[in-house]
Amino acid sequence: MIRPESVLRLKPDVRQRFLRPEAVVVRQSAPEVMVLNELAGELLERIDARASVRGLIDAVAPLYAIERERLEADVLAFLEELREAGVVEEIA
């Protein structure tokens, strides 16, 4: 389960491009292509195997007029979906 302290990275077969306001994610081992919304794109661009999930939320929070608590819940749920879909993996 992804937590605010988790550190994530994209899986090696994943490539992504942020075509604002959407992001395109390719899982090449499948292959599978996904189109994600802007918030997802902002998060994916910041997943670098160093920043914690809390750090990611801190970075995107100023971009959206959403209560911090709700944003955190949405981001955690979304990142969990990405993990289950094989897009990201938890490394710490």
């Binding site: 490539r15 491009r17 075509l19 992001a23 395109v24 390719v26 292959p31 996904m34 189109v35 994600l36």
Partner: protein, 312 residues
Amino acid sequence: MSFGARFLSHPELMPARIAGEAGGSETLGLRIAGRRHVVAGLDADQSAGVAERFRGFLEADEDPGGDVRTQVFRVAPGEFRAIDTRGWDYDLDLDAGAQHASLAGLRFMARIEWRPELRAALWTAATPAEFPGALENLLRVLTAYELLERGGLLLHSAGVAGVSGAWLFVGRAGAGKSTLSRLGIALGHSVLSDDLNAVWWEQDRPVSGPVPFAGDLRAPAAARAQPLLGLFSLRQGRSHATAALSRGAAAAALVACSPYVCRDPHRGDSLLRNVEMLLARMAVRELSFAPDAGFWPLVEECEPALVAESCP
């Protein structure tokens, strides 16, 4: 299943460099998607078969530079597994690495290298009748990579030519490419290919042209590069309609219809870059169509809008 195990008796002995016993001494030139390819090491039967299969794409003129060279080598039939092809769904094995890609199929194996320049080798025990098909399988993959290097794309698509250019209708198997192509022919248009078409850049404009790879219809005829007038993502429906696709959805449609390279983790960024470059110049619309020719006015109506959108 590991690479090559379906086709090769000894996958672990797949050649690690371009070398071997040439099949013969004949050489043929082909022009594919605006780039000259040279196939060398052919014997007389192989050469005749290739000349027949790729007739419209042969190029006799010698051009000392800029070729993509494919060297053909002969290997013993025992190098390949015997396969009962009845009811068989043929799918190549492709193993793409950072420096080279390996390919295995029915009675052939191949290697594509990028350094010092893009080139390929084909080791085969195919009969003269089988040989053009084995070469075509390699050329499909090689063309996808060659276009990627030039900023282009090889797209699963139906290509229909008009007076001033061509439209591409992208879609995976079952999307209706051959149906649409037949309808285009019935309307008096010429079809580039009902399966694979190339997009590349000439004088800073996207152009399209056929590649010599047949789908359900006859093998495409060679034609000069034509300006790309429009891109549509196909969806079979009960009525005719077009709708704008967002850039993200358009990119997803193009990536999903980019065979071979969409699976290559070493070139995924190049694929996305090329898709983004094309989308900066040309919108993609979704086309839903029923199996009758009534969709065509919708395509032509879109033409001016697409051209206008493509011009910054």
